[in-house]
Amino acid sequence: MTKKTSLGGKLYTALVFIFLYAPIAVLIVFSFNSGKSTSVFEGFSLYWYKELFNDAATLSAFKNSMIVAVVSSIISTVMGTAAATGIYNYKNKLVKTSIMTVTNIPMMNPEIVTGVSMMLLFVFIGAIFGKTGTLGFPTLIIAHVTFELPYVILNVLPKLRQTDPHLAEAAQDLGCTPLQAFFKVMLPAIMPGIISGLMMAFTLSVDDFIISYFVSGTTSQTLPIRIYSMTKRRVTPDMYALSTLIFLAILALLIVSNIISARGDKKLSRKGGSKK
C-alpha cells in the first residue's frame, strides 16, 4: 500500500502544512516580543507572559472553563453511556431511528442556532418565574452536556456493536445478575469508547465558544469568552502568550497520548509474538 510520494506531492504536502502552521508560528514568535508591536520583533522578553499571569480575569476564566469541562464531561459521559446501552437494546426500529435523528441535531445544526435556542429556553423559563439573569453556571453546564452527549453516544455505540452480543449473557450464565453483568463485563469491554467519548467531551467543552457565548451570562466567563472579549480590544501580545501556552499544552497532551498508545501497541505485538 505504501508508495513513494512524488516530488510534487511532497511539495504540496509541505505547502499545506506551512499554511496550517505559519499563523501559529507567528503567534509564538511574537509572544516573546519585548515591544508592543505584532509585526516588528524588537527583542526577546517574557513580559507578556508575566502580564498574562497577573491578569486575574483570565485566570478565573481558565478556572471556570476547567470546572465546566470536568462537570459537564462527566455528566455527559455517564448519561451518554447509559443512553448508548439503551439505544443498542431498543428493538423497535422506528424508536431507534428517531432517537438517533434527534441525537444528530446538535451536530448538524449550526452552533449559533443551538446556542440561541438554549438561550431562548433559559430566558423564557426565567421570565415565567419572573427572574432575570437566569444565565450562569447551571445553564452553561446544561448546554455543554447537551452538545457533548451526541459525541459520547457516537463513541460508545460502535463499541457496543463490536462487542460479542453473548458477553453479557455469558456473565449471567455464570451467576451475574443483569446489573452485575453490565458492570463486570460490558463496561470493561466498551471502556475504550467511553474514555474516548469522555476525552472528546472534555476538549469540546474547553474549546467551545459560540454556544457558551449565548448561555453563560456575565458571571461565568469561560476562557474562550475571555479570549473573545480581549480580542475585541486593540491587539496586544499577551493574547499571543496565551495562545502559545495553549498550543504547548495541546502538543504535550498529544505527544503523551501518542506515546501511551504506541506503548500499548508494542505490548500487544509482544504478546502476539509470544504465541506459538
Binding site: T2, P23, A83, N89, E111, V116, S117, P224, N258
Partner: protein
C-alpha cells in the same frame, strides 16, 4: 435477552431521552415560538416577512460559505489522497499534525490571521520595508474566505482521508487489472468511492462557515456582514430576540435544505448515505 435485563437496559436510555426532549427539541420549539411572536407574545408573521431586507446578507453568507467549502475541497482532496498512500507511521504523524491546529481555539487561530493581514501587520510590514505600497488585505471578502478555509480545512481533510483509508485497495488493483490506466482508475474508482467522505467534509465545513460571526467580525470589517453577525447582534446588543429567532429559524431551515440536497445528490451519485 430475558425480560428483566431488557427492561433495565431500556430504562438506561430514559434519562437521555428526557434530556434530549428538554434541551434539544424544546429549545428548537422556542426558536419557532419567538420567530412567530412579537415582544408581547402575540402571534405574528411580520418577523419572517421582515427578513426580506436581509436577503442579500443570506445570499452573501451562503456564497462565501460555498466558496470556502469548495476551496477546502480543492486543497484537501489531493492531500488526503497523498496521506492515504503513506505508511502507517507517517499517517499517524500527519493526522496528528492536522488535528493539532484544530484543537487550538478557533478564536485564536482567526486572531492570528488578523495580525498577519492587518494594515500594519506582518505581510504589509514586509512589503513596505521592501519599498512597495501596502496592500488592502484585511476587511475584504477574500480575507473572510481565507479565515474560513484556514479554520475548517482539517474538517475536510480528515473525513476524506478516513474514507480513502477504508477503501479496499484490491478494488484499485482490480481496476488496474481490468486495464484501467492511472487516470481512469482515479476517476472511476477512487473518486466515486470517496464521495461519502466528501459529503461529510462538505457538511462539516459548510455549516460553520455559513453561520460564522467571529471570522467576519475580525477579518471582514464593516463591509462583510454575515447572517451570523446579525443574529449575534440581536441577542447580545440589540436585544431583539424575536428578530434573532426568526433569522436563526430561517438559517436553520436553509442549512437543512442544503444538506438534504447534498444527501440526495450523493445518494443518486454514489449510492451512499451520509
Amino acid at each position: 435477552m430475558n425480560k428483566k435485563s431488557s427492561l433495565m437496559s431500556r430504562l438506561a436510555g430514559a434519562p437521555y431521552i428526557v434530556w434530549a426532549a428538554l434541551f434539544i427539541i424544546v429549545p428548537l420549539c422556542m426558536v419557532a415560538y419567538y420567530a412567530f411572536t412579537d415582544n408581547t407574545g402575540a402571534f405574528t408573521i411580520q418577523n419572517i416577512t421582515g427578513l426580506a431586507k436581509y436577503t442579500d446578507t443570506f445570499l452573501l453568507s451562503i456564497w462565501l460559505g460555498l466558496v470556502a467549502t469548495v476551496v477546502c475541497l480543492v486543497i484537501a482532496y489531493p492531500l488526503a489522497y497523498i496521506m492515504a498512500q503513506k505508511g502507517p507511521e507517517k499517517q499517524s504523524t500527519m493526522t496528528m499534525l492536522i488535528m493539532l491546529p484544530m484543537w487550538m481555539n478557533f478564536l485564536l487561530r482567526t486572531y492570528s490571521w488578523m495580525t498577519i493581514l492587518e494594515d500594519t501587520g506582518l505581510i504589509n510590514t514586509v512589503i513596505t520595508s521592501l519599498g512597495f505600497e501596502p496592500l488592502q488585505l484585511i476587511n475584504t471578502r477574500g480575507a473572510v474566505v481565507l479565515g474560513m478555509v484556514y479554520n475548517f480545512l482539517p474538517y475536510m481533510i480528515l473525513p476524506i482521508y478516513t474514507v480513502m483509508l477504508k477503501t479496499d485497495h484490491s478494488l484499485v488493483e482490480a481496476a488496474q487489472d481490468l486495464g484501467g490506466n492511472k487516470l481512469d482508475v482515479f476517476r472511476n474508482v477512487t473518486i466515486p468511492l470517496s464521495v461519502p467522505g466528501i459529503v461529510s467534509g462538505f457538511t462539516m465545513v459548510f455549516v460553520p462557515s455559513v453561520s460564522t460571526f467571529y471570522i467576519s467580525q475580525k477579518l471582514g470589517g464593516t463591509g462583510t456582514i454575515l447572517i451570523g453577525d446579525i443574529i449575534e447582534t440581536q441577542f447580545q446588543t440589540a436585544n431583539n430576540f424575536n428578530l434573532g429567532a426568526s433569522l436563526s429559524f430561517v438559517l436553520m431551515i436553509l442549512i437543512f435544505v442544503c444538506l438534504a440536497v447534498m444527501n440526495r445528490f450523493s445518494d443518486d451519485d454514489g449510492g451512499v448515505i451520509l
